[in-house]
């Protein structure tokens, strides 16, 4: 919770090494470095990667950090469930293997305004401009932390970081030594496990290799019938960190996965069929990535990073899509004079895809090759060191659909005392067209027209679809009220323009597929504007030494308006009704005697107008016993309050919902070599 709030500035010992002007203000160290012996010093592990890290107390954005400790205490088995603890992030599970996740509303299976990265590698798919959550997985034990920023990251992160950025940062290989075995099972989890080994070569190279497997059973659909959404996946991966010299570090990481999952999706037998029929299909999916990150530190005042990644996936679902993506990013960071901290970078993405859709859903053209060029610059100016910082920046990006986009932002922080920090930001962010906006073809079914000719109802992508634009005004306050209580408050107002609507196009005759038929179609236009406003609050309260509670709350409200020329009838509901007006989280963590711990999380989500989803409260609880750090046994119950509940209905009808069911599992984590070590 309010990770933001959890870190009172005076405890920030992570030295940003950003030149003397900041460090001279650095408060007293907790560790008395002067009294450390040579032997002590030789064993201190230091953060070389933090050369340019910015102190949390200075981040002018709505930040929430999920630590490894939070992950352990959540009982979550996947990344979407971890994000439920963040106020302002809307997490809704559609079926066992499909989620709708967004920040600050506008939620959808194909949410396209949230940017997700793993160790700086974008896991966005250009097909719909969002995240394939089912294949975003890794051993959760290897995550160092997850940084969640609500609000635009446009000036730095670029298009599609309109409403939020999530960066999953994995542990360095040196921090995961030895053997780790994780095994679990329960009524939903039909068997899962991770095996991992971490080692080192020649003192300067560390590595880990792992495999992970899970098999999750199907859930029931709203009619109580089997949902056919069970899935299983096998994944193997590695990470290697090498110090090439005293200045250069190289990280190479990658993974490969293969799995199978089930979904109920619409199918259209022929152009004369009256309506879509739901068909349950089981399909294979596979993929992987390889990436290298080279970092060179010229001095504590200047460093460069080059990151190259290659990503491949193949999904045999309705679109039968295969995609290959190459990303190259370069970044230079330097201190300019005493008061300016500058970062600039260049990026290039090349992506190529093939698809083979069905009569119900296809892309036209079916194959794609696109490239995106981007650049950004940002300058953090210490107007009054440690007290007042101003950050100005902009991103300039070029894509094949809409050309150049400029996304500037201005951010400021004011820290009147070390316990209180205020921030404010104004930023522009664009959502650039995804392939489905420009190229989708959905056929819903037909009827016989007045002249006896069949008429097919369709939705056709618009190659001239424009950027959706947002300007966000945000402010926040973070405070350490006492050493037991911290707070984090955020308020925002977003102004949206050129949002997506569906508009009718003139009827036309289409010869293929036979028989020849008229098409009564709609296409995408940018004829909706609107506003969103909301507040988010998080706190962490250490009630007693052994008991911490972390409450959170978010309020969000969206109003959309159609342009006078629009004939749209659904987009307002899709935008306004897909996120809860109120949502709240309450986490309780109790350390019990004799190495037991009891952690409980409750999540309240208000009703959704779209799809008539009733409000629900989800309760998860876990009891954990730890033996000499070597063995951890957890008993976890999830969705304990109700037998089953509905979380989301996909308004595009691309997939049928199933109900989240009450479940329990047992998990064992075994680190045979950690015995007695303090690690």
């Amino acid at each position: 919770v309010g990770a933001a709030a959890q870190q009172p500035p005076e405890q920030t010992t992570q030295q940003p090494a950003q030149g003397s002007q900041q460090q001279t203000q650095q408060p007293q160290q907790k560790t008395d470095l002067a009294s450390m012996s040579l032997e002590d010093l030789m064993n201190v592990q230091v953060t070389t990667a933090s050369k340019t890290e910015q102190k949390l107390s200075r981040v002018a954005a709505a930040v929430f950090v999920i630590s490894q400790d939070d992950i352990k205490k959540s009982g979550a088995t996947n990344i979407p469930d971890l994000l439920r603890m963040v106020p302002g992030i809307d997490v809704a599970q559609i079926n066992a293997n499909t989620w709708a996740i967004s920040a600050r509303g506008l939620n959808d299976r194909f949410s396209n305004e949230l940017l997700v990265m793993v160790d700086g590698r974008t896991v966005y798919t250009p097909t719909f401009g969002g995240v394939l959550w089912d294949t975003l997985d890794l051993p959760l034990e290897d995550i160092e932390r997850i940084e969640v920023i609500r609000g635009p990251g446009g000036s730095v992160w670029g298009a599609n970081a309109v409403n939020g950025v999530i960066n999953i940062i994995t542990k360095k290989a040196a921090d995961t030594p030895g053997v780790m075995v994780v095994a679990g099972g329960g009524n939903l989890d039909q068997g899962s496990g991770t095996t991992q080994y971490g080692g080192s070569v020649e003192g300067n190279t560390n590595y880990r290799i792992y495999t992970k497997y899970f098999n999750e059973s199907q859930q029931a659909d709203p009619a109580g019938q089997p949902g056919g959404d069970g899935w299983h996946m096998l994944r193997g991966g590695f990470r290697m960190d090498t110090a090439l010299s005293s200045k250069d570090t190289l990280t190479v990481q990658g993974d490969l996965y293969t799995g199978e999952e089930g979904q109920t999706s619409p199918f259209l037998p022929s152009v004369t069929s009256p309506a879509l029929i739901d068909v349950n299909t089981q399909f294979n999916l596979s993929g992987g990535y390889l990436q290298g990150i080279w970092n060179r530190v010229y001095s504590p005042r200047s460093d460069i990073t080059l990151q190259i990644s290659y990503d491949h996936y193949k999904r045999d679902d309705v679109l039968m899509e295969t995609r290959d993506t190459l990303n190259i990013d370069f970044q230079h960071h330097f201190l300019w004079g005493d008061r300016q901290n500058v970062v600039w970078g260049l990026g290039y993405r090349y992506t190529t895809s093939t698809s083979d859709g069905t009569l119900a859903v296809s892309l036209n053209p079916a194959d794609y090759k696109t490239q995106v060029f981007s650049s950004f610059i940002q300058d953090e100016i210490a107007l009054a060191p440690e007290r007042f910082y101003l950050t100005v920046g902009t991103k300039l990006e070029h894509n094949a659909y809409t050309g150049f986009n400029l996304m500037p932002s201005v951010r400021a922080t004011w820290t009147p005392t070390t316990h209180h920090m205020f921030w404010a930001a104004i930023s522009k962010a664009d959502r650039t067209p995804a392939e489905i906006d420009t190229s989708i073809r959905l056929n819903f079914g037909g009827f016989t027209g007045s002249g006896g000719t069949p008429v097919l109802e369709s939705l056709i992508g618009n190659p001239n679809f424009q950027n959706e634009e947002a300007i966000a005004y945000e402010m926040g306050y973070r405070a350490t009220v006492s050493n037991r209580l911290s707070l984090d408050l955020t308020a925002y107002f977003n102004s949206y323009t050129h949002q997506e609507t569906t508009e009718p196009v003139p009827e036309f005759l289409e010869p293929d597929p036979a028989p020849p038929h008229f098409v009564m179609a709609e296409t995408y236009e940018n004829l909706m504007n609107g506003e969103a406003h909301g507040i988010e609050a998080a706190a962490k309260w250490k009630v007693m030494d052994r008991w911490t509670i972390s409450p959170g709350y978010a309020f969000e409200e969206i109003h959309m308006h159609l342009a006078p020329t629009s004939q749209d009838t659904t987009s307002i509901m899709d935008a306004e009704g897909t996120s809860p007006r109120h949502s709240a989280q309450l986490r309780s963590n109790v350390d019990l005697p004799h190495h037991w711990a009891w952690d409980t999380s409750a999540y309240f989500v208000d009703r959704l107008a779209s799809g008539n989803v009733p409000s629900y409260t989800r309760l998860d609880s876990q009891l954990t016993w730890n033996w000499k750090k070597m063995l951890t046994v957890s008993l976890v119950g999830q969705n304990l309050l109700k037998d089953h509940h509905l979380e989301f209905v996909d308004d595009s009808g691309s997939v049928e919902s199933t109900l989240e069911k009450r479940s329990a599992y047992v998990k064992i984590v075994w680190h045979p070599e950690l015995k007695g070590k303090s690690k």
């Binding site: 010093l41 932390r145 940002q378």
Partner: protein, 181 residues
């Protein structure tokens, strides 16, 4: 989306909350600063290295100062071998021979041969993290190993400067080079 990538490594990356495992994060240069102070205890200077018996030990820094306030905080109020310890930052072209231990910042890599040349015949203990510092005639070079700060010693250079390095320091050094170049 694109340069998304690295930015967290640089600009906006956020320190993980310390409460998580109550594990304090210490930076590379905090540790190097503590080493600098420790070295004073394991090196013996010839008496003519000080202007008078009460003169303080001076830790000099040339180039961009990577330590910030850390080094100052460490030496504050401390005495070593009955001498006060003070820190002095040198401007370019200033005479570096007035200190007992000199940290040569990575920013001075290009000027390194010139700096070492200007110290010839003096009794200044030179310390740096510049690559191949010992091979270039420096005395103590910091090296990173597994996220830990280690160092190697160029003994020949130290002996030429008439410095006595204690066997304890030599024992914990990663490498000791005695070769005469």
């Amino acid at each position: 989306m694109i340069s998304a990538a690295l930015f967290l490594l640089a600009g906006l990356s956020i320190a993980s909350p310390p409460h998580a495992n109550a594990q304090e994060v210490i930076s590379e240069y905090q540790v190097k600063a503590a080493y600098l102070f420790n070295f004073l205890k394991f090196v013996e200077w010839p008496s003519d290295a000080f202007s008078d018996p009460l003169a303080p030990i001076i830790i000099g820094i040339t180039g961009d100062d990577p330590f910030g306030s850390t080094l100052q905080q460490i030496v504050l109020g401390k005495t070593v071998q009955d001498r006060d310890v003070i820190i002095r930052k040198y401007r370019p072209a200033e005479d570096l021979r007035s200190c007992q231990i000199l940290f040569i910042s990575p920013s001075e890599e290009k000027r390194l041969p010139h700096i070492l040349e200007s110290l010839r015949g003096s009794s200044v203990l030179t310390v740096s993290d510049i690559d191949r510092f010992v091979e270039s005639g420096g005395m103590i070079q910091f090296k990173m190993e597994n996220s830990r700060v280690r160092f190697s010693i160029g003994l020949a250079a130290a002996e030429r400067a008439r410095l006595k390095i204690s066997s304890k320091l030599l024992a914990v050094a990663q490498a000791v080079s005695t070769g005469k170049e």
